[in-house]
């Protein structure tokens, strides 16, 4: 399992955080927490910008979170055209991190609103790709 299997198209092939993909396949969206100073990061980091440590643990993000903002894209950049329209959003989670990602297409338009309670939904495709979406909690 490597990082180039993350998302619709991955632009990164090697990262020290590639365990993120394995954890995602096990149905856990995860961030990292610094073993030395306790700083929590999402997206996960392998290096702590506060204390310079490179020792990290993983923690799960379960939510439910709260949607802060969102948009529905009617056009797409090259390589994503087949997905149009799709929604993107950012939500605040009680684990102390914000999460950006696609929104589940099953959320009705009239429910899309700041404050909507959301949970993480792991999405796997047949070709071994794995991603996550924010879905109505």
């Amino acid at each position: 399992m490597s990082f180039d299997q993350f998302g619709v198209i991955s632009f990164t092939s090697a990262t020290k955080t590639e365990k993120f993909v394995e954890l995602l396949q096990d149905n856990r969206l995860s961030g990292t927490v610094c073993k030395s100073c306790g700083a929590k990061f999402f997206p996960p980091r392998s290096d702590c910008s506060f204390c310079l440590s490179d020792e990290m643990d993983w923690f799960g993000i379960d939510g439910p979170g709260e949607l802060i903002s969102y948009t529905t894209a009617m056009y797409a950049p090259a390589g994503f055209e087949k997905d149009v329209p799709y929604s993107l959003g950012v939500a605040e989670f009680p684990e102390g991190v914000k999460v950006f990602g696609r929104l589940d297409k099953s959320i009705p338009d009239d429910q899309l609103k700041a404050g909507l309670k959301v949970k993480v939904k792991v999405v796997s495709s047949g070709e071994g790709r794995v991603s996550y979406e924010l879905s109505a909690a």
Partner: protein
């Protein structure tokens, strides 16, 4: 700090597709600024070249430009902060002059976006955000700014029509700017047609890609007084950065980098928002201009909509903003944009802005943002 002046400004016409190479495009702004300053290439001690390099096949454009503009063997520097590259270039050049290292420095911004297709361009611009954690979802600039628009709507009750009013103003001035790519008049009804790009942003909320170049020439106080009858002085420079990742942002109703850059620029100039006579703000999208009103203190947070509803940012209003049509009408050739904004303000402060002139403009401000609020540059200029 030593005083530094802008002694020459220039820009090419901003066009959909420039029928020449990047060196020829750059030369258009260079020629314009050199004639404006009335100097020769040998009088320039160093150059700063600014662009977003992913549009070009040419590697290391600064070397190419130094040669084509006749600036060998002087030193050259390459500066990039995507859409605010040439404002970062101004900051770099200011430091080179204020330090006493060089007396006269030229800043050139250029971009030939038509080298690639619009979808490819969106993909490249999307990669101006976090490519590891965000681009895999299919991100693009309109979608990011749309999230800020939605955030602003939800927090302050701003509406799509408020944003449309900003485009109405832009088109009013685009019509009279002969360097602009979009010179058609637009009414509210046309702008409100539901042609969504990324909700709630519609077609006319977005600026167009363009090819273009801009150039400015900076000089030390001594050289400026020697070479130039009407120098425009750099009074305040503020720059700040914010997390590239949306998960690292504090709010979705304003840009932290712009707020901080504005604060620093005002402090350095020893003035406040009420002292600004004319402003150029980074309206890559209508929502970006709305947030700029508030981030720069022209309006309280959430009150930007009152400014545009009351036409306070028109030429006759309390704080004229983007009376050259802004990015929305001029077009947005990434690396050239900041220099074009600075040119407009310099012309205003010299009383040479023609039909766009704001009467008696003495202090001007330029707000130039890179990416979706990754880089914020705010620069303040005065006539004397």
């Amino acid at each position: 700090m030593a005083k530094v002046a802008v002694i020459g400004v220039g820009q090419s016409a901003f066009v959909r597709s420039y029928p020449g190479s990047i060196r020829e495009l750059a030369f258009e702004a260079f020629r314009d600024a050199m004639k404006d300053a009335g100097i020769k290439s040998q009088q320039i001690d160093a150059s700063v070249i600014c662009s977003a390099p992913e549009y070009d096949k040419q590697r290391t454009p600064a070397g190419l430009m130094a040669e084509y503009l006749g600036l060998n063997p002087q030193p050259t520097f390459y500066v990039e902060s995507v859409c605010s590259s040439s404002s970062s270039g101004l900051r770099t050049a200011y430091a080179l002059v204020a330090s006493g290292l060089h007396d006269v420095v030229m800043v050139l911004g250029f971009q030939k976006m038509s080298e690639i297709s619009s979808a490819e361009s969106q993909e490249r611009m999307g990669r101006g955000a976090d490519i590891q954690w965000e681009a895999p979802f299919g991100t693009m600039m309109p979608a990011y700014y749309a999230m800020y628009a939605r955030g602003h709507f939800e927090k302050y009750g701003t509406t799509e029509e408020d944003l449309a009013l900003i485009r109405v103003k832009s088109s009013t001035y685009g019509v009279i700017n002969d360097k602009a790519v979009f010179r058609k008049s637009l009414d509210l009804e046309k702008i409100m047609e539901p042609k969504y790009i990324a909700t709630p942003l519609k077609m006319y909320d977005c600026c167009a890609n363009a090819d273009g170049s801009s150039c400015m020439i900076l000089a030390s106080e001594e050289k400026a007084r020697d070479l130039c009858a009407k120098p425009v002085w750099i009074r305040g420079l503020g720059m700040a950065t914010a997390p590239i990742n949306m998960a690292g942002r504090d709010t979705f109703s304003g840009l932290k980098c712009a707020q901080l850059a504005g604060k620093r620029a005002y402090e350095m100039a020893g003035i406040g928002p009420k002292d600004i006579d004319v402003a150029e703000v980074h309206d890559c999208f209508t929502i970006a201009e709305m947030m700029a009103y508030e981030d720069l203190g022209f309006a309280e947070p959430g009150k930007g909509k009152e400014l545009i509803r009351n036409k306070e940012t028109y030429k006759e209003g309390r704080i004229p903003v983007n009376v050259d049509g802004g990015l929305l009408s001029k077009g947005h050739p990434i690396g050239a944009t900041g220099g074009s904004q600075i040119r407009t303000v310099a012309l205003q402060l010299r009383g040479a802005a023609g039909e766009m002139q704001v009467p008696n403009a003495k202090i001007g401000l330029v707000h130039n943002i890179g990416g979706v609020g990754i880089y914020g540059n705010v620069s303040i200029f005065s006539a004397d």
